[in-house]
Amino acid sequence: MELDDIQKVWKQANQEQNLHEYSSDEIRSFRKSRSRDFTKWIRNSLRMDFMIKALIAVSYFVLIILFRSEVVTQIICAFLAVLTFGLIWIERPHYTKAVLLDQSTESLQAVLHERLAFLKTFYFRIQFLVGLTNPLLVTVGSFFYYYTKYGRVSFPEIDDILVFISILIISFLFTIPTTASMYGFHARTLQNSLASLEDSDHWEKAIRSYNRSKKILTWIFVSLMVIGIAILAFILLK
């Protein structure tokens, strides 16, 4: 086969293909099915987050009523309720951006750039905003726990506050490994396609730099874990 013949070979192959022609009804069912694109995943997680945050905000208002004799607790709950609604307000345009990304019918190069820009700016902001839901949930849960067990919020000693803050930080950091892994995969895929499309070493450099920082971060993360376990073991065995 000569290279100039590939169009003819392709034509013949297509003529001989035994394709299943979809009916109009089948195509309608496809249209209504669930997308598996990552933008859809982001939209779903944002929708879920809106609902959880709205529930949390309403719960804070309930707490304001429950703790009617405790002004400090009421002020804290009011502040957290406003903060939660504020976060929903900040998240809204990110949802719209994900919808617009889904509807884009630009050229391949434009779409790759749009998606990469979305990942680099909006994705981390979204994960940060979604990650804040966990500490808000822990806080609201703690307030309800205090109310049902003691009928009031006791402001504990410094050690208890440190433990509580640690729990809040851990609950916030909980989603980070998944977030980073998803970002890494999608960013690499898009950058690889752009590198191939634009014949530029810019994206290859970006991928190399990403891999380098990933290695450094893994080392830092593992070192911190080892140090943490060593300190814990030292305290326990002392």
Binding site: V9, S35, N192
Partner: protein
């Protein structure tokens, strides 16, 4: 999506579904993947139908959305399947009047399979005898760049085909 004519959309996709099939065959490795990709492309076409105002030819628009979807919807597990053949639904004759045998077709498919996704998209449009201007419009690069890319991809294909023939 209210106000969009669903029937018109369904007629359009049903009529031009061979475009989606060609993209699915190029990018998906087995029957299940092809079906999933077809479904995803249909969803994206419907979402983009709102903004399609007939400024581009319908086939150009469909190729654009289908190729964008195929390239951006790469999943982690897809990497494993890269070496699988994409021609399972082809039942070619042993040899035709032009002299292209089953082996020729298989070798072409295997060689294309070794290209990266962007090169696959460009070569698909070239094989479908699209004009350079149309390829440029779909991919988003200049006409000259399309020419350069096609020459390079053909060179790559030649290398892969020669390598395969030596092995055979």
């Amino acid at each position: 999506m209210k106000g969009l004519n669903e029937k018109e959309f369904l007629d359009l996709v049903t009529k031009h579904q061979n475009i989606i099939h060609k993209v699915c065959n190029m990018f998906a490795s087995d029957e299940q993947d092809r079906h999933d990709l077809f479904q995803e492309i249909t969803i994206k076409l419907w979402m983009g139908y709102r903004t399609y105002k007939g400024q581009a030819a319908i086939s150009t628009w469909m190729y654009r959305v289908a190729l964008n979807t195929a390239i951006t919807l790469q999943r982690k597990e897809k990497r494993k399947a890269e070496t699988q053949a994409l021609h399972s639904n082809i039942q070619p004759a042993d040899e035709n009047a032009e002299g292209y045998s089953k082996t020729d077709i298989e070798m072409l498919y295997l060689a294309i399979n070794k290209l990266d996704s962007v090169d696959k998209a460009i070569i698909l449009l070239y094989l479908e005898e699209k004009k350079y201007d149309e390829i440029a419009e779909i991919i988003g690069i200049s006409r000259t760049h399309v020419g350069v890319k096609i020459t390079r991809i053909k060179r790559k294909l030649e290398g892969i085909l020669n390598e395969t023939m030596e092995k055979v």
